[in-house]
Symmetry: C2
């Protein structure tokens, strides 16, 4: 895994540089935008009466900055706008204003590998009380040093262990639309508790009807006879999932988005999870048994390498100017 | 509706007295407890990184104070403790400490009719990162003047209109447990939007399989051939629902908690909703057609009167001492 170690070594070096600016740069450990005002993340607070808290009435998106480059920002903002439209929110900032704010925040913080969390909430009044026209929606932005759903050490060691949950299944789309990214993680949280009880870290939720869906914050990809399979419905349409399909096409690996029966997971040669906060995350153990030969497989490695390389492709990313803030 | 008008008139008079203390008493329009510190509700803020916001990883309960008396507080706290236990939270305050805090807050504010919202969140770190033993859960308390899911004027006029939703059904218990009171209102919010689109205010959600469940914050009760019916599953085990059953027993009205087919709603003689934030709320129109004769029915009136009378019964409520705060 030469590429993996190279990518992580460069990242660790950038992280050390960033950490050397603590605490003189008060934004370097995290920055937030609340009511259009920038504050250190540790001091960022929201009104307790915001309906985004009291009714989880919000949508959000998570783009990332990698090595000083915003990755697939427009794909994230496209999805974010679709989510706002489905839930009838209006972002207080236009797309161009939002982009400018994100770049300003990154530059001020000096963070070059960044987890970005953009939230629009219903605002201070319940949907029941105000029409769409009267709503004043709130926008919050969090930026913090890149967050790993699976830590680099675990990715290198190849010790990612998952379970298929039995005590909980994914909230169906006829109740909460999973394509509208949301904080309603009750089913995921139950999954995390079950996984921990069963000696694993990562829950895979089913639809309760024999098909795989997704886990807390990640899509699931199986490799079966050399072909990638990822569930078509009951899931977030992940931007990292999209990248996986893009690099698979480029590498000549077939990828199918369709119903994925649970039983296919038990005969998969390789399994990985994918998310903006962690990339391509190999799962080598499922329900206590090795996946394939229990090592990170060749298809996963191919996708992993190509995915991180893609971050430097100007078709998918652009460089942030950190200069103006100095 | 002599009783209804008497109850509301007395309430309005108390509310006017309270409002006369604005703004000299800075807690009279609402008070919150954050990090064990009391603040005016309008100033109350929580850390944006609280997992209760970022993952809706929390439970809550809503008891009420009516005419200076805490109503069924122990029933609410029993349920709250069951919810905490199911989700593996530990309230930072013991039950006795919590009760003392609630009484202190009510007394300081001078509010005599109070909506009380008690929240325990996972805390600052995701469940995925910390074991139960390491968690530091957060407690937040909101108290504000009594909130009406159905305003007194609408209750008096008997103009409550509901729809049975078609675009969304209630999140099933195998995904999110509805007996653990939660802020994950995505399905309810969709229901509110559908109801508004169809010219009504109150959505009734089904289980997607032909049975009624509940609406945003309220249980549903049908009157069919003089018998009360309320859904047994897929719903919060409401304390007001419990009071309805208690007063029904006292008044010799039979009450059944069982699967309630959607079609029963269309032939019901009377329908009402019930919740701590509004009490017994008559629904006289369903899907654009009158329920029964379109007026508030006799069973609803009987339950309504007995429910509000119950608030003065020392078996169910206790008087708060407002004196010590002066």
């Amino acid at each position: 895994m030469a590429t993996m170690q190279k990518v992580f070594a460069a990242y660790q070096s950038r992280l050390s540089t960033l950490q050397s600016t603590y605490p003189s740069n008060r934004y370097a450990a995290g920055i937030a935008c609340i009511d259009n005002t920038l504050v250190p993340l540790a001091d960022a607070r929201i009104p307790i009466t915001d309906q985004g808290f009291l009714k989880s009435d919000l949508t959000y998106d998570v783009p990332a900055i990698w090595d000083g480059r915003f990755f697939r920002l427009d794909d994230h903002l496209d999805r974010f706008e679709r989510s706002c439209s489905k839930m009838r929110y209006k972002s207080p900032l236009s797309r161009e204003e939002l982009k400018a704010k994100l770049i300003e925040m990154a530059a001020l913080s000096g963070m070059r590998d960044v987890y970005v969390h953009i939230i629009v909430t219903r605002g201070m009044l319940p949907a029941m009380l105000v029409s769409e026209a009267e709503q004043v929606n709130n926008l919050y932005i969090i930026m913090k040093p890149y967050y790993w759903v699976m830590a680099p050490e675990m990715q290198i060691a190849g010790t990612g262990a998952a379970v298929i949950t039995k005590t909980v299944s994914r909230t169906p789309e006829h109740s909460v639309d999973p394509t509208v990214k949301n904080h309603q993680w009750g089913d995921f949280t139950r999954g995390v508790l079950e996984a921990r009880d069963r000696g694993a870290k990562y829950p895979f939720l089913t639809d309760g009807q024999g098909a795989l869906t997704e886990g807390p914050g990640y899509n699931i990809v199986l490799v079966n006879r050399g072909v990638l399979y990822t569930p078509a419905s009951g899931v977030l349409e992940g931007v990292t999932r999209l990248s996986v399909m893009d690099v698979a096409r480029e590498k000549g690996v077939e990828a199918r988005v369709e119903r994925v029966p649970v039983k296919m997971a038990y005969s998969a040669e390789e399994i990985f999870m994918c998310t903006t906060a962690g990339g391509i995350m190999p799962i080598t153990e499922l329900d206590g048994k090795p996946v394939g030969d229990g090592l990170i497989g060749p298809v996963t490695k191919t996708i992993w390498d190509a995915y991180w390389e893609m971050h430097y492709n100007p078709n998918y990313s652009f460089e942030i100017s950190y200069e103006f803030s100095k």
